[in-house]
């Protein structure tokens, strides 16, 4: 009996150690139906409102002549930022062979795929003529940063969907073997997985190729999103720091969103045995580092603008620091720096509720950052025109709610049909990782002193 057969043999039975991970699939309760109906209603409302916007025109939003971009673009950048949670974190943790990744990667990858789809749809909401959206393909100009975005987001969506699906195959096969309904779904998606050594070798190979491939794609995505702004001549946007600044912000908000989701799922599905204090502790250290990186970038960006004292830059600068956007600017600094650093620096406050508060604060703060980037530069034209203002209309708020509801519904539906924590990776970890890491650690230690005979032999040779 090979090792693979053994794993298969122990898990296909009805009762096994990781029963908890399949509970949400095997006996989904009334709660699932209630929650998904409620979320569905919110999403339906958003679609109706979107239909009305198509019929009447973008006049139903709060956008205007200098401030031609608002919530839709802010949320586009924000959601795509959140999507960096996943694939990037999961790929980096896998690549660095961090053993504590095992219960985290799946959730991170799901967030990526769901949020990326929502984010990528946002520019369509923002189009004056969504009926002509396909002109992007038939008449696209590759010189336009918007086309760079289309290419890079499609690549990222494809790669991260595959990267979510491939490591899920053994778990789907497990559900198929346990006879979970709908059987056709699991039979189809399991792709004939039997857990043979050859299949496992192929799986491992595919995952290791994908995890390397996905990292540069993920970084390119937020870099070119920043290029939409940085490539124009507008004060406050035309900055070389924007690429890395956006990537850092994206990973920052991504980790925060991931931890929020993890804490909620831990509570809802009773996953305390799997998502332990140590996982949150490590992730929150990562969040702390990103927060410091973020303040470093923010400081550099604004100091450069301030010290140069260029009039049109200063108009945008003071609009944010002391002007109408001061409340948003300073709450962004508080939410992205003071709150997370204050909470996560101390062991006493680095508890699960503390981490949840810090993460929520970062998610809000990063949304404010996107708002602070998009609106003030547009509201302060270079020519002596009156300063613009932007108050989002109810339509834009409803679409915002619709975006969030779509995220939650996507996640809930995923949790209903697939395990949120990779069962086979947990089992593999239990079986192999202690031996593997011991071996690896031994590899770090200095070599034992060679015997004198061997030493003199090498000296002569």
């Amino acid at each position: 009996m090979t090792e693979a057969d053994e794993i298969q043999g122990t898990t296909a039975g009805l009762e096994f150690e990781d029963q908890d991970l399949l509970r949400s699939i095997e006996d989904s309760g009334v709660a699932f139906r209630v929650v998904s109906t409620l979320l569905g209603l919110v999403i339906l409302t958003a679609w109706v409102i979107f239909g009305r916007q198509i019929l009447l025109g973008l006049g139903v939003t709060g956008l205007n002549q200098p401030v031609a971009w608002g919530f839709y673009i802010v949320n586009f950048v924000f959601f795509i930022g959140i999507s960096h949670a996943g694939t990037l974190i999961s790929a980096i943790l896998r690549l660095s062979q961090a053993e504590w990744r095992r219960p985290i990667t799946r959730m991170a990858e799901v967030i990526t795929v769901v949020v990326l789809a929502i984010g990528a749809f946002h520019p369509v909401l923002d189009l004056g003529r969504p009926d002509r959206a396909l002109n992007i393909f038939t008449a696209g100009r590759l010189q336009s940063p918007l086309l760079w975005d289309v290419s890079s987001i499609s690549a990222y969506f494809t790669a991260s969907t595959v990267y979510l699906y491939i490591p899920m195959i053994p778990d789907i096969a497990l559900l198929r073997d346990r006879g979970v309904r709908p059987r056709w779904l699991y039979t189809f998606l399991a792709w004939g997985w039997q857990g043979t050594p050859r299949q496992q070798a192929v799986l491992e190979r595919a995952v290791s190729i994908l995890m390397v491939l996905v990292i540069p794609i993920a970084i390119s995505v937020h870099t070119v999103i920043s290029y939409i702004f940085a490539m124009t001549l507008q004060p406050g946007w035309h900055s070389t720091i924007f690429g890395p600044y956006f990537v850092v912000g994206a990973i920052f908000s991504g980790i925060a969103a991931l931890m929020m989701v993890m804490i909620v799922m831990r509570r809802v599905f009773h996953l305390e045995r799997y998502l332990k204090q140590v996982h949150f502790d490590y992730l929150s250290r990562l969040l702390l580092i990103m927060s410091l990186l973020w303040i470093y970038f923010t400081f550099s960006e604004y100091l450069t603008a301030f010290f140069g004292n260029e009039p049109s830059e200063m108009r945008v600068f003071y609009y944010k620091i002391t002007g109408p956007y001061a409340p948003f600017f300073w709450s962004m600094v508080a939410a992205n720096f003071l709150v997370p650093v204050g909470i996560l620096s101390f062991r006493r406050t680095r508890t699960i509720p503390g981490i949840f508060i810090a993460s929520a604060s970062v998610v809000v703060g990063m949304w404010l950052e996107r708002l602070n980037i998009v609106v003030p530069s547009l509201a302060n034209p270079r020519l002596p025109l009156p300063t613009g203002y932007y108050i989002p209309s109810l339509v834009e708020w409803v679409m915002f709610a619709g975006g969030f509801a779509t995220f939650m519904l996507g996640f809930v539906i995923f949790a209903r049909f697939f395990p949120l924590i990779s069962v086979w990776e947990i089992q593999e970890g239990r079986k192999l990782s202690v031996a593997e890491t011991t071996e690896r650690l031994e590899g770090y230690l200095p070599d034992p002193v060679p015997s004198s005979a061997a030493q003199s032999a090498t000296e002569r040779g």
Binding site: L56, G57, L58, G59, G62, L63, N64, Q65, P66, V67, A68, W69, P123, D126, L127, G128, R129, P130, R132, A133, N135, I136, A139, G140, R141, Q143, S144, P145, L146, L147, V150, I228, M231, T232, L233, Q234, L378, P381, R382, L383, P384, L385, P386, G388, Y389
Partner: protein
């Protein structure tokens, strides 16, 4: 081939706004109405830019007519994802209404805020729609539009000169704003013809261009006021 440009002499300009009104008439620009205007959606291809100088009791306000400056290196054309805005051979920055997807990237990228967007389907109160200019197409909702240097007049003049069997030259075309200016402050013509009136005026030491340091090479020049 001509390269069209414009010179606006601020010494002659009285700020009367006739150019703006003529532009609205000529190019079928619907009036935005008080409600939309109060929401910062006033709709002009040529606006009067308020210029405030002095302080205290000595405040002086004057208006500078500002159409699209038709850059030779236009930032809006660079960013358009679908080639809906382009620089024509005669130097006119044009917009293709039927191709524009309404992403408003060009508006965000234009340092002159020269482009406007159709937030709603344009409204024509009463009988006004029947008095629109048949030479200029009406725009649908959801697309970006802008000053065309009265491109339809350029097309008409080209047909006429072709019929007359000669090349088009400076003075064959006058856009509505220049035509309507009672002070003769707006001059339009061929910048590539060194003998044209616009060329001569651009060599005037009073000549300047808006935000010339951005390197967009605008083709609308101004002559500064004499003291």
């Amino acid at each position: 081939m001509s390269r069209w440009g414009m010179v606006i002499d601020l010494d002659r300009c009285t700020g009367c706004g006739a150019c703006m009104a003529a532009c609205h008439q000529e190019n079928n620009l619907p009036a935005a109405g008080p409600e939309e205007s109060s929401r910062d959606r006033a709709f002009h291809w040529l606006r009067l830019l308020p210029e405030v100088s002095g302080s205290g009791a000595e405040v002086k306000v004057r208006y500078v007519p500002q159409p699209c400056v038709h850059c030779d290196d236009p930032p809006c054309v660079r960013v358009c994802p679908v080639h809906a805005t382009y620089l024509s051979e005669e130097g006119i920055v044009a917009q293709i209404y039927s191709r524009c997807i309404g992403c408003r990237y060009c508006m965000a990228a234009c340092p002159y805020n020269a482009k406007v967007f159709n937030w709603y389907e344009p409204e024509w109160p009463g009988d006004l729609k029947r008095s629109t200019n048949p030479d200029v197409s009406l725009r649908p909702k959801g697309v970006v539009e802008k000053c065309t240097f009265c491109h339809h007049r350029v097309v008409k003049a080209r047909e006429e000169t072709r019929a007359a069997g000669r090349e088009m030259r400076d003075g064959d075309v006058t856009p509505a704003c220049a035509e309507s200016c009672p002070a003769g402050a707006i001059v339009f013509g061929d910048l590539d013809d060194p003998t044209s009136r616009v060329s001569e005026m651009t060599r005037n030491p009073r000549a300047f261009r808006l935000l010339a340091d951005l390197g967009t090479k605008p083709k609308v020049y101004y002559l500064a006021e004499r003291d």
